[in-house]
């Protein structure tokens, strides 16, 4: 379980903030179930007011009508319609917006991620004899198949970071460069993975057709070392030549994230 690194904020809070920092102002974003709803809300309140906040059950472009409002707690949350420009359906949101290619980025949680950014949302163990059956992919596989800038987010834990995911429910770069194109998908996919200790990028200099397409350690959270990260990740990690420590949360970020977390996204055991 995640424990606070300092008295000021927890690693889970820093993960939310680090995820939010990947969101760019003005972009259209499909926001997945769970902590991504909180990260995207933080981005919208903090530095990306013109981001289009969209969720798969149909509400598109959520704009909270007052800063008092907490983050939505589910992808079909009734509060997502308040202030939205459109109250649509699954075929609008996942069909046209996401698979039609209009979502510029996505924020997704998953149970596991692997070396090439493939996600697993379905089970731990093997399909025939799972240790645990998880709720499943929801829109995760739909989104991973089509969005060209996927930001995933999950705690950095050895059960979650695998050389090969126990089961690949959502295509990342599959087995490496060109893997997506060969499978019939647009070549580009995963872009960042924000965790409780660091942020990874992907080695895709040419949009998924060249480079190793592996995860690359780009930013460490304050007080975290490369060795601590490598101790959890089971393969030999690629490290960015520009590896740096990420700035700690600002007071505004930490205040906002606590205010927004009305749904207790960050309660221990929740993700």
């Amino acid at each position: 379980m995640v424990t606070p690194k300092t008295g000021d904020y927890t690693p889970a809070e820093m993960m939310i903030i680090a995820t939010a920092r990947q969101v760019r102002d003005g972009e259209s974003t499909i926001v997945g179930m769970g902590p991504p709803l909180l990260s995207a809300a933080l981005a919208k309140y903090h530095h990306a007011p013109n981001m289009w906040y969209c969720t798969e059950s149909g509400p598109l472009d959520w704009v909270p009508t007052s800063r008092d409002l907490p983050a939505p707690i589910g992808i079909a949350d009734a509060s997502l319609v308040e202030g939205a420009s459109m109250s649509g359906s699954m075929e609008d949101a996942l069909g046209a917006f996401v698979n039609g290619g209009w979502a510029q980025s996505a924020i997704l949680q998953a149970a596991q991620i692997d070396r090439f950014g493939n996600l697993n949302t379905i089970l731990a163990g093997t399909f025939e004899d799972p240790i645990r059956r998880l709720p499943g992919t929801g829109g995760n596989a739909d989104i991973g198949a089509s969005v060209q800038r996927v930001i995933s987010t999950m705690p950095l834990e050895s059960r979650r970071f695998k050389e090969r995911a126990d089961f690949r429910t959502t295509a990342g770069y599959i087995d490496g460069p060109g893997g997506r194109a060969e499978a019939g998908l647009a070549p580009q996919g995963p872009n960042k993975c924000a965790t409780t200790m660091c942020v990874f990028g992907f080695d895709t200099p040419d949009g998924g057709l060249t480079g190793s397409c592996e995860m690359v350690l780009e930013q460490l959270f304050p007080g975290v070392s490369l060795e601590e990260v490598q101790a959890i990740v089971p393969w030999d990690l690629k490290v960015s030549p520009d590896l740096a420590h990420m700035d700690p949360p600002t007071e505004e970020e930490i205040t906002l994230v606590r205010h927004l977390d009305d749904g207790n996204h960050l309660r221990p055991g929740r993700y």
Partner: protein, 333 residues
């Protein structure tokens, strides 16, 4: 020649009780579209009460009412993208592991598209969603607890749950999913008229295609309204009355779930009782008290008031409603 003709629609009434609707339109072995975000717990409880068996539950995401039906022995097969309530339910985990519940996985979008195909008479529809994933491995498509028997063709062979072909137009890979045509759909809606014109607002998810694709649509409605309420806001109608088999007037029919514009989900209560799904013991206790121990939604609500007081339902009621700033108006003359 200015006689009003509102009486023209007589003889099309679909009003009945939940008991009658489930008796007439739900059969053992049926495929049941059980809703994504507006759940008819009223009809769910009635299906369990009547001891329906071997139902297959389908929806983009299925909700705790499906877990409940599985634990109660009514649902033994599932096709969905997401199972709410899976993680904490030991009985459900157990049944998925030992094969008492069988399933094939899809996604929110591909279930929606499969319902759309079913609703529009198409044999299949395309989506990229599982390209590059482990789902396309033959041993996964036909895993030991998958719905192979449901996919048996007339010639005895087993159809796959997804197929990759080359597009005859441009030669690219195309992943096909088969149409999905449930026997019966159960959903709670904000309002309907007695002919079955159903109106829903809020996130629509796969509701419309779940309705169009299903042979019988059974709805519980928070309000029964005159036709003129329906026809002065015809854009809220999800499917028209000829598509609907039963309309049940059932206020609070989504409880403990919520209903946009009416009430919030009863989370504290849902957690308190754990939906009866955490252990086999709590499940039996929940079913005994809230399902078998009540005759219908009125007696369920009476028990709720008895247990928790009148106040809690009032707390859940939505007070703050959205007012159109400049209402859109139809008109043609």
């Amino acid at each position: 020649m200015v006689e009003p003709i509102t009486s023209w629609q007589s003889g099309r009434s679909k009003l009945m009780t939940a008991r009658e609707a489930v008796e007439r339109f739900v059969s053992d072995g049926d495929t049941l579209y059980s809703g994504f975000n507006i759940i008819s717990f009223s009809l769910t409880n009635e299906i369990i009460r009547q001891g329906k068996k071997h139902l297959k539950a389908v929806a983009g995401s299925v909700t705790p009412n499906v877990t409940l039906m599985a634990i109660a022995g009514s649902v033994d097969r599932i096709e969905t993208g997401y199972l709410s309530g899976t993680l904490r339910s030991k009985p459900f985990q157990e049944m998925m592991r030992d094969g008492r519940v069988k399933w094939n996985d899809y996604t929110n979008m591909t279930i929606t598209l499969r319902l759309m195909a079913g609703g529009m008479g198409m044999p299949f529809i395309c989506a990229n969603s599982f390209l590059g994933t482990d789902y396309l491995k033959p041993e996964i498509m036909n895993h030991s607890r998958s719905l192979m028997e449901d996919r048996r063709r007339e010639d005895g062979t087993i159809a796959p749950p997804y197929v990759v072909i080359e597009s005859p137009f441009d030669g690219r890979k195309a992943l096909l999913y088969p149409a999905l045509k449930p026997d019966v759909a159960i959903v709670h809606c904000q309002r309907a008229d007695e002919e079955g014109n159903i109106q829903v607002w809020g996130p629509m998810a796969d509701t419309k295609w779940g309705f169009w694709a299903s042979k019988h649509v059974l709805v519980t409605a928070e309000e029964i309204v005159p036709r003129s309420v329906i026809s002065t806001e015809p854009h809220f109608t999800v499917v028209p009355g000829f598509k609907v088999s039963a309309v049940i007037h059932e206020p609070w029919g989504a409880h403990p779930g919520g209903l946009n514009g009416h009430y919030r989900a009863d989370r504290s209560w849902a957690e308190l009782t754990g939906f009866g799904m955490t252990t086999w013991e709590s499940a039996r206790q929940y079913l005994d008290e809230w399902v078998y121990g009540t005759e219908d939604r009125s007696s369920y609500l009476a028990r709720y008031r008895e247990r928790f007081g009148d106040g809690l339902l009032e707390v859940l009621r939505v007070k703050d409603k959205m007012i159109p700033e400049q209402p859109a108006r139809y008109g043609w003359r």
